[in-house]
């Protein structure tokens, strides 16, 4: 009972901020299940860059969620970007748009780089990031494109893959 109460249940009737609180935690919680290639980081102890591009629906929630959190030995740095900056290595990139065209543009911009792209509620398969948040039975779930992950040199743990509502396999 308690777990049901504590679980981040989201319904239309409830506060949408709870949905984004859950998505904020998911963003950093995905980190431990992803392995980036060594060249993705400037230094061995450098932070994991968590970038938000487009609409920022998290606000302070994201900063609070990641405060004090680490991925392995790395701290998490949150960056809000007006546009995708290829020069700034984003390890996790949240694409804040419902527009598949816009989303696709962002994804094209970082294509081939070791970036865990996260789209939100995109239905067009061509515009989905490596991770795409969906709402299933009033709960935040995700789809994973392991094929795209592989193109960026990312390894995604099978533990997460098994939680995904849909997985596009590597090959």
């Amino acid at each position: 009972m308690l777990s049901v109460l504590l679980s981040p249940v989201v319904s239309r009737a409830e506060d949408a901020s709870l949905e984004y609180a859950v998505k904020a935690t998911f963003l950093y919680k995905l980190g431990p299940f992803v392995t980036w290639p060594a060249h993705a980081f400037e230094t061995p102890t450098g932070p994991v860059n968590l970038c938000v591009v487009g609409r920022d629906s998290f606000g302070a929630t994201l900063d609070q969620a990641v405060a004090g959190q680490v991925i392995g030995t790395r701290s998490i740095a949150v960056w809000r970007l007006a546009a995708v900056d290829r020069g700034r290595a984003c390890h996790i990139l949240y694409v804040g748009t419902n527009d598949p065209r816009l989303a696709a543009e962002v994804l094209d911009a970082v294509g081939g780089t070791p970036t865990l792209t996260v789209t939100d509620g995109i239905r067009d398969a061509r515009a989905k990031g490596v991770v795409n948040f969906v709402i299933v039975a009033s709960r935040v779930r995700f789809e994973i494109d392991d094929h795209a992950a592989a193109q960026g040199g990312l390894e995604i743990s099978s533990k997460v893959l098994s939680l995904a509502v849909a997985v596009r396999p590597r090959s």
Partner: protein, 600 residues
């Protein structure tokens, strides 16, 4: 030496029963220890298995806990339901609240908050609790409750082990007991073997003593019988010789003297017959076997038999057709048949019929072994009477010397033993068939003569039996016999030179070239017997004829109970007629050979 039934290692076999008992105890103890060990190992194994399952669940459920995915967590938990031993599985979050769970039965439902014990075993259950770690932090707990096989169902396995062990122990114990019993029995057996050995030795001693007694009895019976018969005969001889002297002193006339001398002579002849029978039984008589036709021999005897048996007995001869020839001493065979005929006559005091049949016969190996003869072809001479027959006991003893059912006036009891001795000595067999009141048949089996060795020697009667003053070298160690023989030779018209040993004979021979014949006893004292002496004499004077005489056969001139070829013998006691015929035959044969040799 008594047999050793067991080798010296029997000490081992004495301690074997104790060893077996100890082995059985050790086996049982080992089995119990093994059961405890297996039980302990089983429980440990179960705990490890459940711990591993819990660890796997904890690992896989991490992401579900992280992303708060209860349905995924429940899927993982329920996946464990495939294992029937898992009673319940529960995942708690980091606050200890139940996140996802599965329970097979209501009583195995996991508690709402994380359990206290990491590992707990109670009865037939084992509970395991492991933390869920993520990024170095404990983010939850996994609890598993599993059954282990109930002791009740494990016990039969242990019972089986125990049963097998008990059986093995029982086998060992039984073997030990059997070994013990066997050792005991062996001890008894050894003791009995020792006793038996002692008894055998005792028995052998007793039997030796008994044999000695029987031997003495037999000798006593034999000598007693001989002495008795001889005394009777000597009484006749001495009495008549006394009478003869008295009549001579009284100047009785020649006819009366001759009559008394004849009585003495009858007694002496009977004594000679007696010794011949004795020798025949002892198979010491020198046989002179010749090829003969039994039919001819038997028919030649018919007159003699009719005279001997008297008129009230019918004699019937049935000669078998195509009868094979045999080889035997004809005189002894006639004697044997005569003895059987006399016995038959005595068995038929009221008169009856005597049948003498001849036939060919065959001994197969089985019957030959029973009769103690060589298997093969035989001729059989069967003498049958219609008299009173014999009882089995009498028939069994019939061949024993001096065994007689007749009173002393009738005979010596040596008749059948002569038959037995002669037939056996001739390589044959004799068998009695008799039934009380039905008569008796005695069958004489003699071996068939297969190869005629040489033409029958025709004894030509000499022209004259008187000597022609030839010189005879007489060798005899007994002075009385030597003097008697010398007197007989001189009366027969010969010159006589006497000698008592071989050495003396050879010297005498050197000095007297006129010696025409050597007449020697076979048994001589000193280093040279009669045969050796004759051989030595022939080496010096090859043409000199030799005549042997003997009281009974010696190996020197008789082999296998038969005279060696070329040996001429006159047996003691011999009469004037016996001696003169033998001498004349030899001397005239020599004269013929000399005449042949002198022919140009």
């Amino acid at each position: 030496m008594p047999t050793r039934i067991f080798p010296p290692s029997s000490r081992f076999w004495r301690v074997a029963p104790r060893l077996a008992a100890a082995t059985a105890v050790v086996l049982i103890a080992a089995a119990i220890a093994a059961a405890f060990f297996i039980e302990r190992a089983y429980t440990d194994q179960k705990q490890r298995e459940v711990s591993v399952s819990a660890g796997i669940l904890a690992s896989t459920v991490t992401a579900a806990l992280v992303f708060d995915d209860v349905s995924a967590a429940r899927e993982y938990v329920e996946a464990l339901a495939a294992n029937p031993e898992i009673l319940s599985a529960a995942v708690y979050d980091e606050t200890g609240a139940l996140f996802a769970s599965y329970a097979r039965t209501s009583d195995s439902r996991p508690p709402a908050t994380a359990g206290l014990a990491l590992i707990a075993v109670g009865g037939d259950r084992v509970a395991v609790s492991v933390p869920v770690r993520h990024e170095g932090k404990v983010i939850g707990t996994v609890n598993l409750l599993s059954t282990i096989e109930p002791l009740a169902s494990r016990l039969p396995r242990y019972a089986l082990i125990l049963l097998l062990t008990l059986m093995a122990a029982a086998v060992v114990a039984v073997l030990g007991a059997a070994q013990s019993a066997l050792a005991h029995v062996n001890e008894e057996l050894r003791e009995r073997a020792r006793q038996l050995q002692d008894q055998i030795v005792e028995r052998e001693k007793a039997e030796d003593a008994l044999r000695q007694i029987q031997k003495m009895e037999t000798i006593g019976q034999l000598t007693g019988g001989v002495a008795h018969d001889f005394n009777n005969l000597l009484t006749i001889i001495i009495g008549n010789l006394d009478r003869l002297e008295r009549r001579i002193d009284a100047k009785a006339d020649a006819a009366e003297l001759k009559k008394v001398a004849k009585f003495a002579r009858i007694g002496a002849d009977r004594a000679a017959t007696l010794t011949k029978s004795l020798l025949a039984f002892s198979r010491r008589q020198p046989l002179d076997p010749k090829p003969l036709d039994a039919n001819k021999l038997v028919s030649n005897m018919s007159d003699l038999l009719r005279r001997t048996l008297g008129e009230h007995i019918t004699v019937q001869m049935v000669g078998g057709a195509g009868l094979w020839r045999t080889q035997a001493d004809p005189n002894q065979l006639e004697n044997a048949i005569l003895n059987l005929a006399v016995n038959a006559r005595d068995a038929m005091p009221e008169g009856g019929r005597l049948t003498i049949e001849t036939a060919n016969a065959y001994f197969d190996p089985h019957h030959a072994a029973q009769a103690e003869v060589e298997p093969g072809q035989y001729i059989v001479i069967a003498v049958t009477d219609t008299g009173g027959g014999m009882t089995k006991e009498v028939a069994a003893q019939a061949f024993e010397p001096f065994f007689t059912t007749k009173d002393t006036s009738h005979g010596t009891g040596l008749g059948l033993s002569q038959v037995y001795g002669f037939v056996k000595q001739s390589g044959g067999h004799v068998q009695i068939y008799t039934e009380l009141g039905q008569g008796t048949t005695v069958k004489i089996y003699l071996p068939r003569l297969t190869a005629e060795p040489e033409a029958e020697e025709v004894e030509t009667a000499p022209d004259s039996v008187e000597g022609r003053h030839e010189t005879i070298l007489l060798v005899e160690d007994d002075p009385g016999v030597r003097e008697n023989s010398a007197m007989m030779l001189q009366e027969l018209g010969y010159r006589v030179i006497g000698a008592s040993t071989g050495a003396e004979t050879l010297q005498t021979l050197e000095r007297n070239r006129q010696v025409a014949l050597l007449f020697t006893d076979v048994g001589l004292p000193g280093s040279m017997n009669g045969r050796q002496l004759a051989d030595e004499v022939r080496r010096r004077r090859p043409e000199l004829p030799v005549l042997f005489t003997t009281g009974y056969a010696r190996n020197a001139i008789v082999h296998d109970g038969r005279l060696d070829p070329g040996v001429h013998l006159v047996t003691k006691p011999f009469s004037y007629a016996d001696l003169s015929t033998a001498l004349r035959n030899l001397l005239e044969a020599r004269a013929d050979r000399t005449a042949e040799a002198r022919k140009p």
